[in-house]
Subunit: 362 residues, 2 copies
């Protein structure tokens, strides 16, 4: 989750272009901790990728990643429906973990509540458990905090924050760091299930503040209510990603299209860019939001996933097989573009005349 | 952290007495996830202990625990000082992890901000890094979320939540589950550094709402300002705990005295109770809060640590050696009580006429 492009993305230590002096100081302070443990425990990657990996010795690594669902919690409040957002919490975390080639094992949750509310907690647990089932992980623990002076009550006084941290094993020899990408590689996109858990602040502003719609409003393009559309759980790509890895196809990178949309591709450290010249038609919610909010193509593609929630990068020669294997899992997938040589790590979307520059599309 | 006894403690699956139907449902839903992964990845303990442990195969386990600093963040805001609360975040997590016998390796942080604030983030990173140094761990990643519609701005519009998740390795043969305690074992207490990161909602109510003090108020008993006292970072017990384990002393349990105060002792699954008949004189902040707020002994001992931040349980014959080894690390420690046979797992504090009953002292 990343409410705005400033959040998750700007703490990255591997920003294509700079970051402010303070952002760099932030990263330096945390990076200094990499020396505070012995060789077992040392992070094997830099800050800022989708997940990091701790060296466990004997060639094994423990991947770890943390993320929350952002203000999708407010949509849940408006819908008075809390039994699916736990799926989002699992999804946001396991999808990040997959990007380093790890097999997710377990997630702990953190629930901060404006007021103690057992009914909401049980509903949240239903979603967490369903997400865990889909991802094949356990939830061995968690924390619930009642923080009435810190968490807003929101539309129905049941405000809450929901965050997860996921761990998973990876053989260091098969670690995916995004450094093996090369010009000519194929980019395969997997279908999202809607806006997922990103850009909710913008979506809420457009729909509720500007348009004055409410969650119960039925919109013809969506074939359901606005609230149902926005609350649709984030897709969990564990089965697709692991089955492709297990198939023997040489997956060079998995890239989670989360906050910052397609700019996530530029998080790979390899000196490559991306030309996305075959993006699928975005599902109706995206043109609807764009039209209603008068949002530029640049902003749409750097905030929302535009129908592509997760990407795999494989060598050109493996693309057809990878697509075939992924299609067997039943989720939509497309060859959406190609890796190109580019030391500035730009993402281009020719059909929209978009070229990324640092953290934005121009 | 646990803002009130309802929070962390009541989600425990191992409550001494019951828990509501909904709390049990919550635990059942999450416990069902234990079957969603293979043998590698399966939790080896029940929900509700200080940390859980994931089976990694080959006799190794990965301990994991998550906790936040609660509304101590508001004290930081009132003091306009953000460079130490990261230490609390590390402390709350590594101290929990020690309780299963694990060696902490890494922590990821989650920072949720009312508004994006690089200055605060850098200061938070300073504390996180210092905590990591003290604990000998790395901080390989984290998440920052700008959630202006969810996180209150608080006293200076710089409101934030700060949460961590810590992982660490434990040899399953040396796992400490709290089930080996036996009548006659000695309970050793280690000095806290003040209120730590617990009971802050109560402390704030007493000091600010009821007494009308401000953080700059100098109080003779404290020898410093109220704000300095309340913001004092939580002690990190990693060095003491690991050196005692490494010494060969048979440590039967480590128990983190966090939210719920001495009631934390009753989290051990063994059919034992605790008689704390030699508690040290609490440091001045505790009688000050008690007097100012007119708080009962029962509430004081079930909310605050009363000067004892962490406990070790060893066989009676090991007590003197353990005390001697712990004293070498320079932190205050005392033999504070004894384990007794008690299937109801009560905690007794004879000097205060307190006997625990479920989640409360009577």
């Amino acid at each position: 989750m990343s409410e705005r492009s400033e959040s998750a993305y700007e703490r990255a230590g591997v920003l294509p272009i700079g970051g402010s002096e303070r952002q760099q100081q932030f990263s330096r302070l945390l990076r200094a901790t990499f020396a505070y443990c012995g060789s077992v425990g040392r992070p094997v990657m830099d800050l800022g990728y989708f997940a990091n990996v701790i060296d466990l010795g004997n060639g094994m690594g423990m991947a770890i990643s943390t993320d929350g669902v952002g203000t999708k919690t407010i949509i849940a409040q408006l819908m008075e429906r809390y039994d699916t957002i736990g799926i989002d919490c699992v999804a946001m975390n396991v999808n990040d973990l997959l990007c380093v080639g790890a097999r997710p094992l377990a997630l702990v949750d953190y629930i901060a509540l404006a007021r103690y509310d057992e009914e909401v907690m049980v509903e949240l647990a239903k979603g967490l458990a369903e997400g865990a089932r889909q991802a094949g992980i356990s939830i061995p623990g968690g924390e619930t905090a009642q923080l009435g002076d810190l968490i807003m009550g929101g539309p129905n006084e049941r405000g809450f924050d929901l965050v997860g941290t996921c761990i998973g094993l990876v053989t260091l020899a098969h670690l995916m760091t995004g450094d093996r990408l090369a010009a000519g590689d194929a980019v395969i996109g997997l279908a999202s299930t809607g806006v997922h858990s990103n850009g909710m602040t913008l979506a809420r502003r457009i729909c509720f503040s500007e348009q004055g719609w409410d969650v119960g409003r039925r919109l013809d393009e969506l074939g359901r209510t606005l609230g149902e559309e926005l609350l649709e759980p984030t897709a969990i790509y564990v089965q697709e990603a692991l089955s492709l890895l297990d198939s023997g196809v040489d997956v060079k990178a998995y890239l989670n299209i989360t906050g910052d949309g397609f700019l996530n591709l530029a998080r790979v450290p390899a000196a490559v860019g991306f030309v996305l010249d075959a993006l699928p038609e975005p599902p109706p919610v995206f043109p609807l939001l764009q039209r209603a909010g008068g949002i530029s193509d640049a902003e749409m593609h750097s905030v929302f996933n535009m129908g592509v929630g997760f990407c795999a990068v494989v060598a050109e020669g493996d693309a057809d097989l990878a697509l075939e294997l992924l299609k067997e899992r039943g989720r939509g997938c497309w060859r959406i573009g190609t890796v190109v040589a580019d030391p500035e790590r730009r993402v281009r979307i020719p059909a929209k005349n978009l070229v990324s520059e640092g953290k934005h599309f121009r």
